[in-house]
Amino acid sequence: MLFLRDLGETEVGGFGISAADDLLLIEDFVLVRQHCSVITVAFEDESVAEFFDRQIDRGLRPEQFGRIWIHTHPGESAQPSSVDEETFSRVFGRSDWAVMAIVACGGDTFARLQFPAGPGGSLSLPFAVDYRQPFTGSDHEAWTNEYLAAVQPEPDLIFSESSCLSMLSHAGDSSRTYSPLELAAWPEW
């Protein structure tokens, strides 16, 4: 999640894949095709449908892959915007339960569980990495390929500076910011 958050210059979003016996334990994060800017992310409807079909074919239940919506925010705040709230209510409001989770570039996190049963309700959840879980290891190449296949930056809205990563430029005293994709394209010197 953090690798994908910091890979480009835009917001990014996807679905959390839950453990079969613990639905609030996210074992994977999957991107769908999306159009993104520094401050917005919009999933392609057909890609969402394909994602559902693929997960069903894997033998997963909808509650394992379609209930935890995760996206990133620029800057420091992970608090949901009005757009986030509208989407969460409209798209996930008819599910027995759903979670909206946000990871800000500055490290702040937000997670809220909502459920319509009875009078309905919601509660904030802690959002943290569970280091007790087994981990097969990082695969930056696969993650980058997934990112490049899914994330379509909106050219008109891309700012020149990433809100996530910052390092001094080697060209004089400017402090232009570079994304990991830009850094990977730099020549050796």
């Binding site: 992310v41 969402v48 449908a49 079909d53 509650e63």
Partner: protein, 72 residues
């Protein structure tokens, strides 16, 4: 006849269900998502976009998946 029905509402659904012969996509939507608006769902049959008057066939795979998932 039996079809595979996929939907994320309620407790979620990805199972075979029985529908009457001649059931259209629109009729199934009304039965299964009575309070929903079609504009909030991408409706596909066998992974292809479907028209409301399309008559379902035995073994079809029908999915109602959410649309306009947007954040900011």
């Amino acid at each position: 006849m039996q079809i595979l029905y996929i939907n994320n509402d309620g407790s979620g659904f990805a199972d075979h269900i029985h529908v009457d012969d001649g059931t259209t996509v629109a009729k199934l939507f009304t039965q299964r998502v009575p309070h929903g608006r079609t504009c909030d769902y991408l409706i596909r049959v066998n992974r292809q976009p479907a028209t409301s008057d399309q008559v379902l066939q035995s073994g079809d795979r029908v999915s109602f998946t959410p649309t306009k998932i947007e954040g900011a």
